[in-house]
């Protein structure tokens, strides 16, 4: 039950950000933005090791009292950040991983579209549908 899902480009600008409609959506945007620091930290913490060896799933980036933030990086340094409601304790790590995997798959589908230029904002309806389903229910 993700509350907010964001796709961040390699240059750390958002390609796609969508959150559950609440009154203070900017809060989520801010959270995602600050979490990018943690992502970079984790990436660099892995050292200059080969890209292959780095795990794509970064895990819990940092928790706050209301929610948790998870991260995932692709090989081309595109980051997926997911903000999840803390009260939803039923969410296990595996489920988060599977959600990220789905995100990644949808992202590659978008990439395969020749009309999509890498670095553009994502306007794909299929991607929207998938993200919506992820926010509605745990998958």
């Amino acid at each position: 039950m993700a509350v907010c899902i964001a796709v961040i480009a390699k240059e750390n600008y958002p390609l796609y950000i969508r959150s559950v409609p609440t009154e203070n959506e900017l809060k989520f945007h801010y959270t995602v933005h600050t979490s990018l620091d943690v992502v970079d930290e984790k990436i660099s913490a892995m050292g200059k090791a080969l890209v292959d060896q780095r795990e794509l799933y970064l895990g819990l980036l940092y928790p706050t009292e209301d929610y948790k933030v998870y991260g995932y990086v692709t090989n081309s340094k595109v980051k997926f950040v997911m903000v999840v409601d803390s009260s939803n304790t039923a969410l296990r790590d595996n489920e988060i991983r599977s959600m990220f995997r789905k995100l990644h798959n949808s992202y590659t589908d978008i990439m395969c579209n020749p009309f999509y230029n890498p670095g553009d904002r994502i306007h794909s309806r299929a991607f929207d549908t998938m993200v919506n389903s992820m926010m509605m229910q745990v998958c």
Partner: protein, 648 residues
């Protein structure tokens, strides 16, 4: 039908407001008119579709001879202001009906004449059941769609015939306005369905009634006979009733007006376009090629992006023939004003299309004859139709095939000369010119085929299904074409976004046979070979096959998927069969195991080399990507600097 009283009051006032003239409608007239109006347009819509109106006009059996019939009807629509407004509002409709009544009574078609007291306009053989036809909006939209497409095609062909290099996919409006001189072209549009409301203007009605006649009056043989008399092309009634019957069957078996259903003629057109991009019908069109092609349609990029999303079902960045047909169909639909669906309609699914595309695959010889004659001159087509009027279906078929063979030779000759994509539509004109003399028989045939699904079904049933090339799921993500681009055009690869997953995905595809490899070699099997074959497979052959993928993956990817899969398939089977007799006894097993170890080690080494190569390539490409980004940023800053200067 019984909505007469409801709209009774409105029309009178509306009629008054329409042309600034007060048009008194008697009670009966009001009732009749509103009833006709409601028949002509489903209640939710405010304006009557041109198709139904056109049909109504035809039904009125206005006197003049067939060829000049358009002259009369134009007058009516002009007078009633529909031409100006582009559609038949209630007011225009009533005025038009009044004018028809006047014309039928022998009065000239003028505003003044309708002020008199006139009898009700007579419409022959309009049945109430036709309302059923307009009941479903989908059908109506289908009606809307088919003719615009055809007229679009026809117009594009005509324009290219006229030497006009205009983009064939120009917006629907412009072609319509241009050729009023030969309205008969629209009649010959080989469609069986109505025409579009999206198009305004008179000429459409000319085209519509003919087709509408085919599709609307499904019940009456006798009524069809009447229409036959009124036909602009003087076709014999047997033909009309025959086609009407066919239409009956057609509509009963499937929904011919479904805008998402590709007709034969459209499919032929798409297939020819596919061929112009990619001669092998079993191969893919790569993403960039398709992008260039569809960008020519001048649709906005987000819409094209969405169309691609819908049609590229397996998301591999390339279009098979079926996917291409679906995409093209969606583009055409969008150009004709249809909203894109959220999900791919059932009739555009690749599986469905491939079942339907079997005929094209097999009868590619006939296609050139189908499509080439289409753009040819109208006169020949006219004659051709009348020739075919009384022919039976089966003899026509054989005649067509013979014609098709003749046409095919010419078409192939012509088609080889022009293959470039920018001239994709131009080549049709050359072919058309070549095909004109031979086009007589072929065209009417294609028209009658497109009008019925029974014939289609029969045809499809006759031919054995050729296996459609479906890319295997396992390698769809590791897009072979991306890799192809990488190896051949580095710059293009930069655009392709993220590179395919790390090397382990690469070797498996060509070395499909090596499923028996122990887990040290990172190959995931694409085909399941029994383990026994593994031992029997000679190590030498293994090395050979393994050596192939790292050194020439690009070559393999270039080949069609089917071929790519087949050759590894063939080689292991050959390996197996050859080694089977040789390796029966179990004694040499030990020798083989050591051989295997060596083979495995060499394979590992080779894979590591491949990995290294790819890693290097990856880093190079990342570098290039960075540089390109820098350039882009530089250009953008330049643009920003320049912008204030220009905007004064």
């Amino acid at each position: 039908m019984e909505q007469g009283p409801a709209g009774a009051s409105g029309p009178a006032a509306a009629a008054a407001g329409a042309g600034g003239l007060l048009l008194p409608l008697s009670e009966t007239e009001q009732q009749r008119y509103s009833e006709l109006f409601s028949r002509c347009c489903p209640p939710p819509e405010a304006a009557a579709g041109g198709s139904s109106v056109g049909e109504l006009f035809r039904a009125s059996q206005l006197p003049p001879d067939t060829l000049h019939q358009w002259k009369n009807n134009p007058q009516i629509t002009e007078v009633c202001g529909a031409k100006r407004m582009g559609y038949f509002g209630p007011a225009q409709f009533y005025i038009a009906l009044k004018l028809i009544a006047a014309a039928q009574s022998g009065f000239p078609v003028r505003i003044e004449s309708i002020k008199n007291e006139l009898p009700l306009p007579r419409f022959m053989a309009l049945k109430n059941d036709t309302e059923v036809r307009y009941g479903t909006p989908a059908e109506f939209h289908g009606v809307k769609f088919q003719v615009p497409h055809a007229t679009l095609e026809k117009n594009s062909y005509k324009r290219t015939d006229e030497g006009d290099k205009q983009e064939p996919k120009s917006p629907p409006m412009s072609p319509i306005c241009s050729p009023p001189a030969s309205p008969s072209t629209y009649q010959r549009i080989p469609l069986s369905y109505g025409y579009g409301k999206a198009r305004s203007g008179l000429e459409q009605q000319h085209g519509a009634p003919y087709e509408v006649r085919h599709s609307t009056h499904q019940q009456d043989g006798p009524s069809s006979g009447n229409y036959g008399a009124k036909s602009a092309l003087a076709c014999s009634t047997p033909n009309r009733s025959l086609s009407v019957e066919r239409e009956q069957q057609d509509s009963s078996t499937q929904y011919p007006d479904d805008p998402w259903r590709i007709t034969e003629e459209q499919r032929d057109y798409y297939i020819n376009q596919f061929r112009s991009l990619q001669p092998d019908l079993n191969a893919f069109i790569s993403g960039s090629v398709a992008k260039n092609f569809f960008t020519k349609s001048k649709l906005p990029i987000p819409e094209l992006s969405h169309i691609w999303e819908l049609s590229d079902v397996d998301c591999d960045g390339a279009l098979t023939l079926a996917e291409f047909c679906a995409a093209f169909h969606l583009v055409v639909a969008r150009k004709n004003g249809y909203q894109l669906p959220e999900t791919l309609p059932e009739t555009l699914l690749p599986e469905y299309l491939q079942a339907a595309c079997l005929k094209p695959m097999r009868d590619c010889a006939l296609f050139d004859s189908y499509s080439e004659p289409l753009p040819s001159s109208q006169q020949t087509r006219d004659l051709g139709r009348t020739e075919k009027s009384s022919a039976e279906e089966v003899p026509d078929n054989s005649a067509l095939i013979q014609e098709g063979k003749k046409d095919d030779k010419q078409a192939l000759k012509v088609s080889t000369t022009l293959k470039t994509i920018p001239k994709e539509f131009q080549h049709l004109t050359v072919k058309a010119a070549a095909q004109e003399p031979n086009a007589l028989r072929a065209r009417p045939r294609s028209r009658s085929y497109s009008s019925t699904s029974i014939e289609d079904a029969m045809k499809k049933g006759e031919e054995p299904p050729t296996p459609p090339p479906r890319p295997q799921k396992s390698h769809s993500r590791a897009s072979s074409l991306d890799l192809n681009k990488i190896f051949q055009q580095n710059t293009q690869a930069v655009r392709s976004g993220w590179l395919p997953p790390p090397p382990p995905a690469l070797p498996p595809r060509p070395s499909v046979s090596q499923t028996e490899q122990p887990s040290e070699v990172e190959l995931h099997p694409q085909m399941n070979k029994p383990p026994s074959q593994a031992e029997e497979n000679s190590s030498a052959k293994k090395e050979v096959v393994l050596a192939q993928p790292p050194s020439k993956p690009a070559r393999r990817k270039l080949r069609t998927e089917g071929q790519g899969l087949e050759t590894p398939e063939l080689s292991p089977t050959i390996n197996v069969t050859s080694s089977l007799p040789a390796v029966k006894p179990h004694l040499p097993v030990q020798k083989q195991s050591s051989k295997q170890k060596r083979a495995i080690q060499t394979a590992i080494r080779k894979n590591k080399e491949a990995n290294a190569v790819l890693a290097r390539l990856n880093s190079e490409l990342q570098q290039q990507l960075k540089e390109v980004h820098k350039e882009r940023i530089a250009l953008e800053t330049q643009l920003e600097q320049l912008r204030p200067v220009t905007v004064l």
